[in-house]
Symmetry: C2
Subunit: 328 residues, 2 copies
């Protein structure tokens, strides 16, 4: 029998309507739906090899062997794949990111999307895109959005246990850019999984969730109509709503740093100047500054001039998770 191996790549993604809080934390059934764009150029590449000679799962992340909680989370995910495929070999997982981890770019999204595709393929499963998205979701919620292509909606009607993501527009639909202003490369003090568990300790989470269907519809329509002004309003509002919940949870989570606020205010000023630009911020200090391609050089140059901005990564609307064909 030939070795059970496969390689896959997946992009990170940035949510415009945010995922924060679960109906069911273990299966990552989200409290509300979300909409995102895959971040072409910010990707994870993962190779999975199920091997009868291994006596445990091995994880090699950016060329370093990794154990502990990270390996535990990957093994738990592989157990699901092994159950589905009815195999029992341990696996070697080798994974590389081309962007900094743990500071607001969803490295777990691209990581678990690439892992879902590579592991399920290596195990001989033939999952369709939606089933693959559901599988990726069980590793990291936002990973389900890195499976389909371009602009993606993760549907979550009424805590549906079959929750997964679908493409609402291909990458070429709208020529947006995400200028990611890197403000810190340090690991955030409270990871997303712990953060999600705190969402309902905020007195504001229920209202945020209750309004999500309206915001999802507004954001979806703005994307489909390429209506930047509406898109900017709803994206900034939704980001602030998530941070409002975070900063009023118990304990209070403030992911913003002073430079985060500097960038937010600069972006609002630039929009008042007439530039099509808006911000959105995940569970970290970095600011995703979304603009039209025509303004990307100006926006990136201005961001680099802000004291405290360490780097600016530029991503474009990205494609789906893909298998990498090995030459051998």
């Amino acid at each position: 029998m030939s070795p059970l191996t496969a390689s896959a790549t997946a992009n990170s993604n940035i949510a415009f309507i945010k995922y924060w809080g679960n109906c069911e934390p273990k299966a990552r059934i989200p409290a509300n739906g979300s909409i995102s764009m895959n971040l072409g150029g910010l990707e994870t590449r993962t190779t999975v090899t199920f091997d009868a000679f291994l006596d445990s799962d091995d994880l090699i992340l950016n060329s370093q062997p990794v154990g502990g909680a990270a390996l535990g989370r990957v093994s738990e995910f592989l157990n699901r794949v092994r159950r589905l495929a009815a195999i029992n070999h341990f696996a070697r997982v080798e994974s590389e990111n081309n962007f900094p981890m743990g500071a607001g770019i969803a490295s777990s999204a691209s990581a678990f999307a690439a892992l879902a595709l590579a592991a399920s393929t290596a195990a001989g499963l033939e999952l369709d895109e939606f089933a693959l998205s559901q599988l990726a979701r069980t590793g990291s919620g936002s990973a389900c959005r890195s499976i389909p292509s371009g602009f993606v909606e993760w549907q979550a009607d009424g805590c549906n246990p079959d929750s997964g993501a679908v493409s609402i527009a291909p990458p070429e639909h709208w020529d947006l850019r995400d200028c990611v202003a890197i403000i810190s490369r340090e690991h955030k003090p409270t990871g997303s999984t712990e953060g999600h568990a705190l969402a309902y300790t905020s007195p504001l989470q229920e209202s945020r969730v209750a309004g999500a269907p309206t915001r999802l519809a507004q954001c979806r329509e703005a994307i489909l109509a390429r209506d930047f002004a509406t898109f900017a309003e709803i994206t900034e509002l939704d980001s602030n709503l998530m941070h409002a919940v975070m900063m009023t949870s118990s304990p209070r989570l403030i992911y913003w740093q002073p430079t985060t606020l500097t960038v937010m205010q600069a972006v609002q000023n630039w929009r008042q100047e007439g530039i099509s630009v808006c911000y959105t911020i995940d569970a970290g200090p970095n600011v995703h500054v979304i603009c039209l391609t025509s303004d990307v050089e100006l926006v990136a140059a201005r961001l680099r001039q802000i004291a405290g901005v360490q780097d600016v990564l530029i991503a474009y609307p990205g494609g789906p998770a893909r298998l990498v064909l090995e030459h051998g």
Copy 2:
């Protein structure tokens, strides 16, 4: 007839449970109750003289004649006093603050409290404390809290039209200090009156208001028990709740500046070190850092070391609005 004149002083106050949004904006009937401490040392002194020889109301603020909207707001307030006292003279109003205006220290609170006491006395009215508090409220909502002494609760049960404030503990009850970290002396872009009108455009305001009675009870009990740990938790949560509403209103209001966030995070770190200290922030960038008297020198010194903190004003629990007896 001797000239109808009186002088009064009133302290500013800092709310621990915040007032944001009205049931009835014109009469300033608040959406929720609030609890504050008068800020001894940060005061307005106002002299009102009703004079048959004047042909308009005059306002002199910090030795400068003032017209426009500020004078209009004072005249409207004086009209109420004239109606109550059945007089029709115009008035000269001279008012001095000993602290910077318009940047998060509630100058309108001390101003309208001093004005209410001086104008009603000059007009020959003899209002009791609660009636005076109600009168001050009609000029600036938070002014009603600067009438009674010490720690004060502004009651607002069910949009009661007779809403006013009462003392819940005298100044000497708890030896707190407010170290006001001045981050900007500029006028804020959106004043409180306009801001209050936007409160219900936030999808979070209803939840904030719904939880206010619980937070009021927790804060009141923490003050009465001098329980700093509970007081700090509820005060910071309530401040974040108000800013959560502000930053999700339409338009979004972000009063924080980068240094505001630096101070907030420093205060949380100091509390983890064991210092009894917490923050609260009004509709402006300045941070009110509340601590025990025993720690005030340490806290003020550390605040002064933070880049971007321009000054630190220190206030103590203050007394009620008082008449000033003129020598002459």
